[in-house]
Symmetry: C2
Subunit: 323 residues, 2 copies
């Protein structure tokens, strides 16, 4: 049983630090002192998960530890950056040893897989809120920015889409899926950041983003930043068996197009780099699928299997909209 | 009136970015891309303020913007680092234009004074929680670590102690101070991070920490990290007129010794660097005062004006203790 802030850090989070030569001074001083590699840009991103907003009260602590780090690592992946360090700001209502133990194990398991070390943090009493900042490295000229897409580029997505959204429907009691449940919930609760794919796309992709707000909305971010538009083909969207069944039963194509939380990468590839891209993608277990094309007309258009235009309703997840 | 997350960032926080040559890509992509200077360590620190824990509901938004950044810059100061960039993770219950406007102006005013630019952030709906991470630079060999104090070193504090604690007593209705009210509340609500002092102490101080948990507790952190002890002299503690009156009336020395939130620096200086230290300190408006000495016996001892030992009760602010 730990009794206060200092014990808490020592007991649960000291094990998340890693012996990295680029950590000159880790957790425990006023600041961490870090040595970024010369010639690389430092890529940073910060993201918060709030109880009742991003996850339900009582959500599994191990999964939360995993997901809080995963959504941040996903931002590094979308930039083509390798992961190096993270910091954690944790507000929690009380010291709950079982919760803290599960949470820190969830963090540690994913952190170890990506070689990323905890270098600082703050713990305080308050409503359950988890903020993580990640730090990674990428050669600045090869970073996968949102603004580099050009008309004629091919649009790909890694892995499959819609599984996290379907898991949420099942968890909310809005859809009864007879099978694939474990896999579905893993996609929602334990997304796998596509760091390996992001790093492999340096110098190949013209733009990338991670699919957190839904494919149509996130591709829309790329289009606005690049001053271009895009056309997506519904029958090309890669979906797993659970999502395919759901679509066959409901006729609702919104999941792979608009549901958030997939944390796949949406990648734009110049046509003359298609061979290099597919060569790289062949090495990933999760693969990548061509889903559309960049063009000059602003906006994102979606074409159904009969060649008709699909109305894209929701503009993606907005944290202040009532969704 | 802004209606969602993307507008919110654009409206209130875009003005916090700064044209710095070392910001390759700022707010708006999956990550910021930053170029730390070669040969310097990157110093990072993350801190959270929670409504109801660190500040009362209804607290002035401008002051919160100032304080949320100030407590983080104070960590850079305690490391001897110059400030460069910050990120902001903000959870708030609803979009309140007046609050956001005040908060962002409070942030911007302090950020401009220290030349620090916003490079990333996340906004989400939730209980009011403000997390900031700061990033600064310091030559690694000159960083002011906690572990460098040695027996014989002199202990100094910048500015004055206890004013923030007294302001809290007044605000809680536990003490009626007739005068100095504006100044007192400024010390609590708008602490000034001692960045200039911290940078000037590179190569002079052996150890430093910022006084956030109370002088005795924070000096205790230095002593534990350095494997030493310290003796403090009550009649040397620098206090402003309000705190002196309070002590004269109440006989309670706890404020300058144990109250947190002062955000002054506690600095250890080898005896042979005393001249250099006092030469540097003479240039600061807030000055610095000798308050004690590092010795070999573990623990922090406090000596009253008659030469007797004072019991140091509270071990400093612990976010999970019921204080």
């Amino acid at each position: 049983m730990v009794s206060g802030e200092f014990d808490l850090i020592e007991t649960y989070f000291a094990g998340l630090t890693r012996p990295r030569a680029d950590v000159l001074l880790g957790v425990g001083d006023d600041c961490a002192l870090l040595a970024p590699p010369v010639g690389q840009a430092l890529a940073v991103s910060i993201d918060t998960l709030v109880e009742g907003r991003h996850f339900a009260p009582g959500a599994d602590a191990f999964g939360l530890g995993h997901k809080a780090l995963a959504v941040n690592l996903s931002d590094l992946a979308a930039m083509g950056a390798e992961a190096a360090w993270f910091t954690l700001a944790l507000s929690l209502p009380r010291i709950d040893d079982a919760w803290l133990s599960g949470f820190s194990r969830g963090l540690a398991t994913l952190a170890e897989r990506h070689g990323v070390g905890l270098v600082g943090g703050d713990t305080t009493r308050g409503p359950l809120t988890i903020t993580i900042q990640v730090h990674g490295f990428v050669p600045p000229a090869e970073a996968l920015r949102r603004g580099g897409a050009r008309p004629g580029d091919l649009v790909y997505v890694t892995g499959t889409l819609g599984a996290a959204g379907l898991a949420l429907l099942v968890r909310q009691g809005l859809y009864a899926a007879p099978e694939h449940l474990g896999e579905l919930f893993d996609r929602l609760d334990r997304p796998e950041p596509r760091i390996e794919a992001g790093c492999a796309l340096r110098g190949i992709a013209s733009a990338a983003i991670d699919v957190s707000d839904g494919l149509a909305a996130d591709l829309g971010h790329i289009c606005r930043a690049s001053g271009v538009g895009a056309t997506l083909y519904l029958d090309q969207l890669p979906c797993g068996p659970g999502v395919r069944e759901y679509i066959a039963e409901s006729g609702d194509w919104h999941l792979p197009l608009g549901a958030g939380d997939d944390y796949e990468l949406c990648v734009c590839v110049p046509a003359d780099r298609q061979g290099d891209f597919e060569h790289a993608a062949a090495r990933w277990g999760h693969g990548a699928t061509w889903v559309g094309t960049i063009d000059a007309r602003p906006g994102v258009r979606v074409i159904d299997p009969e060649g008709g235009a699909v109305a894209v309703g929701a503009a993606g997840f907005d944290h202040f909209a009532d969704n």
